[in-house]
Symmetry: C2
Amino acid sequence: MTAAIKEEARRQLAAEGAAKLSLRAVARELGMVSSALYRYFPSRDDLLTALIVDAYDAVGAAAETALARRSARTDGHPARWVAVCRAVRAWALAHPHEYALIYGSPVPGYTAPTTTVGPASRVGRTLISVARDAHLDSGLAVPPLAAALRPEAERLAADVAPDLPPPVVAALVAAWSQLFGLISFEVFGQFNRIVEDRDRFFDHCAMSLAHAVGLTGGQAAGAVPFAAPDSDDGS
Amino acid sequence: MTAAIKEEARRQLAAEGAAKLSLRAVARELGMVSSALYRYFPSRDDLLTALIVDAYDAVGAAAETALARRSARTDGHPARWVAVCRAVRAWALAHPHEYALIYGSPVPGYTAPTTTVGPASRVGRTLISVARDAHLDSGLAVPPLAAALRPEAERLAADVAPDLPPPVVAALVAAWSQLFGLISFEVFGQFNRIVEDRDRFFDHCAMSLAHAVGLTGGQAAGAVPFAAPDSDDGS
DNA sequence: GCGATTGCGAGAGCACTGCTCTCGCTTGAG
DNA sequence: CTCAAGCGAGAGCAGTGCTCTCGCAATCGC
């Protein structure tokens, strides 16, 4: 039952956006009365939170399967990085409203329940695992790091990836946020009338981010063509 | 009168966020009845659009004055770039809800009226002018560009900065979006419990972006300390 | 100076929202 | 067979965006 509610809510979300998502409309579409929905979700915000968790899981799964399909041996580490970036972008473009739900403005009153932090970190952990595989493969060139940032980088590394060099972890966090800057600008229309060949532009940026993180090895950069986008865009 | 309405609306926006901004509440606070507001703004979305334009102008002005205070001769081009980045971040942190209005999820039905494109590009043009000054000063190292992106970069350059080398323009657009990725993650709480020393982390990233764009010259990177944030955070 | 026009606020009202409460029905466990 | 729990229906409250009409006031044209 809660699944049916979420499914219908997701439909309305995709059709009209989070602002227009109405509990009454969901109930109406399900042939129920609005008060019945409160048996399953205590409030509209709780429904949204459930959708947020699902969205984090979906984009995380898209990233993970995209990575699992690439071999460090045959594709190289930069290509694996780009594959993850592409998968996240493809999911975002396919589900713009759900993307906005998780990476746009926080809709309710700043509520970030602890239940969302697990799924929320799946994309980040996928990016980390690309770097980790490269590190174990001696395919990671430690990027430069300002001396002033050294303590923060070490604390950061101890928290999220103790087995990686601190400068790499700092570069990963930066690349992580910058990747979503790229995607958000495209999804939210900031690139309208500016960037036209967005596929190629994104690929180039993703490859630059891979270099900034220190990924090397595998095929040459020019040998990573832009082919058909991954089909694994997650539902 | 419209100014008074916008002022009160901005107060509610800062207090509760865009979702809770209510025409009736604004009217109530102004001692009027809600229908009277429709003399000045045809709809709630039009009020929001006006606030969006103001916000774009405010952050653009913050960026421009931060740049105007730095001299290419005494500070160097990378420092000017970082100053602009800092100013945008400072404004965003000081006005998170207004920032969310313009760089978060597009709230209404995808409406990006043409009246917003002018103010919206002020930050971007400020970043471009930093690169232009550096270019005229021979302080710009053309970054590498994938061959596949060459045509797009040339079209892009012809559109937004015909006097700059196409690879620089492509790098500028990428850095522009990545800058807002950084800021959005911080404002929207994605860095919570992850990045602690956000001032230094941001400075380091901004300097990396300056290098990615090709800015060189001026003082050494290490000589740009993190001092007190700029006081020019716009209103 | 006076009448007409225009601008503006008030009020009522419609359709909608989230949410609460109570009341029955149904179902299944003991 | 009984009784309790779960669940949906319905009414209702407070609030929302928005539309319409009405009356007051100032201002403009003559």
